[in-house]
Symmetry: C2
Subunit: 285 residues, 2 copies
């Protein structure tokens, strides 16, 4: 079996892995999730993912039944069952079943679904030549409404944004906020390089603070690459010397073009240094 599902601790074949239609994850997207990958037979950066799972849950007033250490053990144990080395592990925790009401305090028991499959790496050329991205025709959810820093089951905003990428055969779609600033792509964060400075959106902007984003920020500081967390526009991005996306599966992935406008270099020198630093970091993790 190539893929595995575990529901509340019980292993299930993917084709038989089912959840109640009254689960609030299905009814309202009332859930939180994380995706962790492995390198060389070891889950990578799993602790910060668990930290974020707890932060998301807390922000939607969802009580998690286990401690961080217990989630770590559950995920590690599940991962050990993988008959392959490089894995994609998704954990989704929903508020569970209960009476049909929006009330987050309604009595429910959370449901936990873990899913494990072989990691499908992105084609090598994506990393070597960069990928085309588009600016989506929908704005990113506002932090004051549905905070993107909550990694929840409400991903329709991202689905609608991704549609713009799919229609242009682009790799990703980047969303702006109501002020016209770049926020993030549908499943990745955005960086650009301007006059040797590395820019990424502020921590308190309308973004999910990605785990890979955090690692890249730390690596840039170690390499003495000047970093600014600041708002920037699509024009800034198009005029940038370099730009890249970050996510667990994309690592540091150069952006080749934005809405068809080709960037100056892809990958440029700063992107290449960070790609190398990231590979080194991963190797020693």
């Amino acid at each position: 079996m190539e893929e595995l599902v575990m529901i509340n601790g019980a292993i299930s074949k993917p084709s038989e892995a089912k959840i109640s239609v009254f689960d609030r994850g299905f009814l309202y997207g009332d859930a939180t999730y994380e995706v962790v990958r492995s390198y060389s037979g070891k889950l990578f950066a799993v602790e910060p993912h668990i930290d974020r799972l707890f932060l998301s849950a807390e922000r939607i007033s969802m009580k998690l039944p286990y401690t961080k250490k217990q989630y770590l053990d559950r995920m590690q144990e599940f991962y050990q069952k993988a008959p392959f080395d490089d894995a994609y592990l998704r954990i989704q925790i929903s508020r569970g079943e209960g009476p049909i009401t929006l009330d987050p305090y309604a009595p429910t028991t959370v449901n936990e679904v873990m899913y494990l499959r072989p990691l499908k790496p992105h084609p090598r050329e994506y990393f070597e030549r960069g990928v085309p991205v588009v600016i989506a025709g929908v704005l990113r959810n506002s932090k004051k409404a549905m905070d993107p820093d909550i990694k929840s089951g409400n991903y329709l905003n991202n689905v609608l944004a991704y549609k713009f990428a799919a229609e242009k055969k682009a790799h990703e779609a980047i969303m702006e906020n109501s002020e016209g600033f770049i926020t993030e792509a549908t499943t990745s964060n955005v960086f650009c390089v301007v006059n040797g400075e590395l820019w990424t959106s502020p921590d308190d902007s309308d973004i999910l603070r990605g785990i890979t984003r955090n690692i890249v920020i730390t690596l840039a500081q170690g390499l003495d690459i000047p970093l600014k967390k600041k708002n920037f526009t699509r024009q800034d991005l198009k005029n940038a010397d370099e730009a890249f996306l970050t996510s667990s599966t994309r690592e540091v992935m150069p952006i080749a073009s934005v809405n068809g406008d080709v960037l100056k270099s892809s990958p440029g020198p700063v992107t290449r240094r960070l790609q190398q630093a990231y590979y080194d970091y991963v190797k020693n993790a």
Copy 2:
């Protein structure tokens, strides 16, 4: 059996009604839904609900497998199985199962879940004395990001807003938008009466255009009650002569207080006229 579920045409006991954990409704809230109620053994206003189901599906690029007439037949047939007269019927259509990707064009087959239960009417005193509401501490999703006029499986914004009502033991929570205007409550629309004029948010504001809202607008016009679709603030609402909520189950429900500030009358004369007109309309529907 008091409650019934039908999944893709097959009747199921609620306790056994399950859906794949790979259903995009569960993964992303990538679904649309409607709730229809009945009066005196007949589904009420089911055609406009089906129209809106199609509008929601179109806006998220989800192809529905049946025609409007076929959905009408499916819902009517399911409703006929109810061993009770006054029913609550929920239909949810998700984009279905497929590869894990945000791409709305990924190959999937939609899943349809219908749920039928006896209608639990709101206590009579809610209609006779009004209900307390609060202003939520989160903003309503913006139309330009996750359009509230799409009745989707992304309801976490509403769940987070409802939390404020639950914590204050209020009946509903009303959300403002980023401009400080009242939009709607978590599962109802908002009206207020100011100097004999009936106000409700514009059709193109950050709201779901409720079926009951539409009926009330038409009834007000028939009663020569001056109606303005206009933006108004929480202060306007608190200072209003009367205010009420509308939804399929709430019909015309007076608001007694906003954040603890008691309104001038609840129900006021305009609210009472509209309550009566709504009951008459329902009786003759």
